[in-house]
Amino acid sequence: MAKSTSSDAQMLIRSLRTAYAATPTNLKIIDLYVVYAIVTAVIQVVYMGIVGSFPFNSFLSGVLSCVGTTVLAVCLRIQVNKENKEFKDLPPERAFADFVLCNLVLHLVIMNFLG
């Protein structure tokens, strides 16, 4: 049973790799940014676990800024991806402008919240 699941998992990972290699470069850059933001968030949570959550607003603002940029980057990826038929008419410049605007608001609020 274990063998079949592990070989299953290996096949899964291999096919995922090959399928992912086919995505265009600009989307891969966005994905890299998403992974970077998630890793930063994880590091912050681990640090909070070690040190304690005393200025809770600072911890929250740090984690939420990572989560926020992740989510906004994923939204950008969705809007820019040519395979999404719903966003066929949306020019990528507009998507990027929305992304920058939302990030600006996000970071302004984070800076206010950091204390």
Binding site: A19, V71, V74, I78, E86, L90, V109, F113
Partner: protein
């Protein structure tokens, strides 16, 4: 052959002779422009109507703030305009809840005050020298007008422009909304309903277009709502519920992902800037639904994406299995640990009593005692909604016929808000926009169908008669004509009926506003013997007496209802006020009011009380006085101090103040203060002295003697009575 479409000037859709605005044709406007002109002028009239219908009390009495809570809002707005935002945000008030004080900056919703202060600043900048009180009085009608505009756009989004106009017209005069937004009712709800509808409109727009910009707008709308009213919890629970319903029914799309995530993350961050809300978005049970749906969405869309890039269903199934088990176990574990350790606080009493209406009566008497928190009776629904009550199910039918993301949202909003409106009278206000929007859909669709029936009939008959050669279509139509000969007449009759109903609605709303919702509560009016109007201005008389005749650091003890008014108008320190944040303090006051005079004197000495204020309606027949509220004082006091027992004040379970009343009742402080010297007064012709007109009985203890207090002031109609606490006697 038939009416061919022309590109130039089109003839107006109705027969030219019956067109009511002949001058429009002289302006040579195209039909589209005519339609735009009609729409804009209708909206402008609705805007002015929404403002004007709320002005009854300003015209009848004067421009003043109504009720109790608005006085606190007025006082804080005054402070804000005088001292600036930084002082306001960090304000600690020593004048209420003596000796505890209240951190006002951190325990209020600043949206209303900041809005009024901004309007005041803007008017001052344009050199209109208006007093801040006028701005406060007229803020609610102004925002009601703005709500009609938002309702128009929202209706346009859900259905079409006709429904938008109907929604704007219905919500402009709907009594459910007017009740909390008349001129003078300077309360959070006046601004909050505007913010609520704005947030929902922006969110539905974001879901329809999938644009991050609209999502950002809805986050700002949510921030405004959080800054304005505690009812924002409704938004943060309805939107995740909506997302969940869309996910389950399979109507999800990428646009939903973009809209919800943008709104949730940015909205949550913005909401946490309000100190009163603080970290509740990550710590309180009421906000956990939104977070749960957020994580569910991430997992859901991630799995969807993997399914898309993997072209092999078998592999995908195994991946799905692994992911599902991992995520469900992690989620359940996190939730379980959170609730078990108490990190995620359970639902607070205020909102829990919405899910379980019997909870408050048994556990939290303060919440149960507020009259606005009682369950709604059918008469209230009819009173506040009139024809919208049966247009609402009709609108639901139309929405279900044309299901889209927007109509699903409005249906859910309507159903959930109607449930909560049934639980608590106060929440009819939250249901009103949904009911108006859905009814507008019904009205618009019905009238459109009816007028289309009328118009096609006339067109077919015109073409049939003017063009002699009959194509198959024309002959078919002609035969249809003969098959249902009264269809056109029936349509006209139904249309007339619909207009009649709408006109009755308008008459009802105006009547309700005039009779029921325009009383300032602080000034009472009655009809005198010759039909002239008699005004009782006792409250303000008493508060201004306090302001002018007591020392500036005097402390006033009264029941919590009057606290805000005393601090705002009397400018004196109070012991308890309407914020009701400290139940024990209120129970102490309740205990003092229901004890014998000597025990009460000890309590009053411990609280440094200088004056006691009671409200008494025995001379005028005013029934919202302290004797009628007295049992709540006993219950709340007895909830904390078991020495106060409710059965001591009742006789056979009955509450009486006449000769047969309980002895504790006849000698408690509240009784003595209300009926001091009342035994010598004749209130009604033919009745004995000491006849209490509010209870309709002759009082039991006419010979009231006070030992530790002395009467300081009684207003001209005996409604407010103020007593001074005597200092302790000299020892020798």
């Amino acid at each position: 052959m038939g009416a061919k479409a022309e590109n130039g000037v089109k003839p107006p859709p109705l027969a030219p002779s019956s067109f009511p605005f002949p001058f429009l044709r002289t302006l040579k406007l195209k039909t589209k422009q005519q339609e735009l002109l009609i729409r804009v002028s209708a909206l402008a009239l609705i805007y002015v109507l929404a403002f004007a219908v709320r002005l009854f009390s300003v015209l009848r009495y004067e421009s003043m703030i109504h009720e109790f809570d608005p006085y606190f809002n007025y006082r804080t707005t005054l402070f804000l305009t005088k001292n600036g935002f930084y002082e306001f945000w960090n304000w600690f008030d020593a004048e209420s809840w003596y000796p505890l004080g209240r951190i006002i900056g951190g325990t209020l919703f600043p949206g209303l005050m900041v809005t009024a202060a901004l309007i005041y600043r803007a008017l001052r900048f344009l050199t209109f020298a208006i007093h801040i009180r006028e701005v406060c009085v007229l803020t609610a009608p102004f925002f009601a007008s703005n709500t009609t505009l938002v309702a128009y756009f929202f209706g346009k989004e859900i259905w079409d422009a006709g429904a938008g106009l109907a929604a704007a017209a219905l919500i402009a005069i709907c009594p459910g909304y007017i009740s909390r937004s008349v001129a003078g009712s300077y309360d959070n709800e006046g601004v909050a309903i505007f913010a609520l509808l704005l947030t929902f409109y922006f969110f539905v727009k974001a879901v329809n277009t999938g644009s991050l910009a609209w999502g950002l707008a809805s986050a700002f709308g949510y921030f405004y709502m959080v800054s304005a009213w505690g009812g924002y919890v409704f938004i943060i629970n309805l939107v995740p519920l909506y997302v969940l319903v869309l996910l389950i029914t399979g109507r999800y799309s990428m646009r939903l992902y973009v809209a919800y995530n943008c709104m949730y993350i940015l909205g949550m961050l913005l909401a946490m800037q309000i100190r009163f809300v603080g970290f509740q978005h990550v710590q309180s049970g009421e906000h956990m639904a939104a977070m749960g749906v957020f994580f569910l969405m991430q997992v859901f869309y991630f799995v969807d994406w993997v399914k898309y890039i993997l072209h092999d269903p078998k592999l995908f199934h195994s991946f799905l299995r692994i992911t599902l088990t991992c995520s469900i176990s992690v989620g359940a574990l996190a939730l379980g640990i959170g609730m078990a350790t108490g990190y995620i606080s359970p639902w607070t009493g205020r909102f829990y009593s919405l899910l379980d209406p019997t909870y408050a009566k048994d556990h939290i008497p303060i919440i149960a005692s507020v009259s606005e928190h009682q369950p709604t009776a059918w008469s209230s629904f009819m009173f506040d909604f009139h024809i919208l009550l049966f247009l609402f199910p009709a609108g639901l039918y139309f929405c279900f016929k044309r299901l889209s993301d927007a109509t699903i949202f409005i249906v859910m909003y309507g159903l959930t808000s109607m449930y909560f409106a049934g639980v608590m009278v106060r929440l009819i206000l939250v249901a009103t926009p949904a009911v108006c929007l859905i009814s507008a859909v019904a009205v618009s669709a019905t009238i459109k169908n009816l007028t289309r029936l009328i118009r096609t009939k006339s067109k077919a008959s015109q073409t049939g008669s003017s063009k002699g050669t009959s194509s198959l279509k024309a002959s078919a139509k002609a035969s249809l004509d003969q098959a249902l000969p009264f269809q056109r007449n029936a349509a006209i009759a139904l249309l007339a009926g619909a207009f009649y109903l709408l006109s009755r609605y308008a008459i009802h709303c105006t009547w309700v506003t005039s009779e029921a919702y325009s009383s300032p509560s602080i000034v009472l009016a009655a009809r005198g013997a010759h039909g002239g109007r008699v005004i009782f201005d006792d409250y303000r008389e008493a508060y201004f007496w306090l302001r002018q005749n007591t020392s500036p650091d005097a402390k006033v003890m009264s029941w919590w209802d009057y606290g805000y008014q005393i601090t705002a108008m009397g400018n004196r320190t109070v012991i308890v006020d309407n914020n009701t944040w400290n139940n024990t303090h209120i129970a102490t006051v309740g205990r003092a009011m229901s004890s014998y005079e000597d025990e009460a004197y000890e309590i009053m000495q411990s609280l440094d009380v200088d004056y006691v204020l009671v409200v008494f309606g025995g001379v005028t027949g005013y029934s919202s006085d302290d004797i009628n509220k007295f049992l709540w004082m006993v219950r709340i006091g007895g909830g904390v101090f078991p020495v106060i027992k409710e059965p001591d004040y009742l006789v056979n379970g009955e509450y009486r103040v006449d000769k047969g009343a309980a002895p504790k009742m006849l000698n408690c402080l509240m009784y003595k203060l209300c009926y001091y010297r009342f035994g010598e007064l004749t209130t009604e012709y033919g009745k004995p002295t000491g006849y209490d007109r509010a209870r309709g009985v002759e009082i039991g203890n006419k010979n009231v003697k006070l030992e530790y207090l002395e009467e300081a002031f009684t207003t001209s109609n005996w409604i407010v009575r103020i007593y001074k606490v005597k200092p302790p006697k000299n020892r020798w």
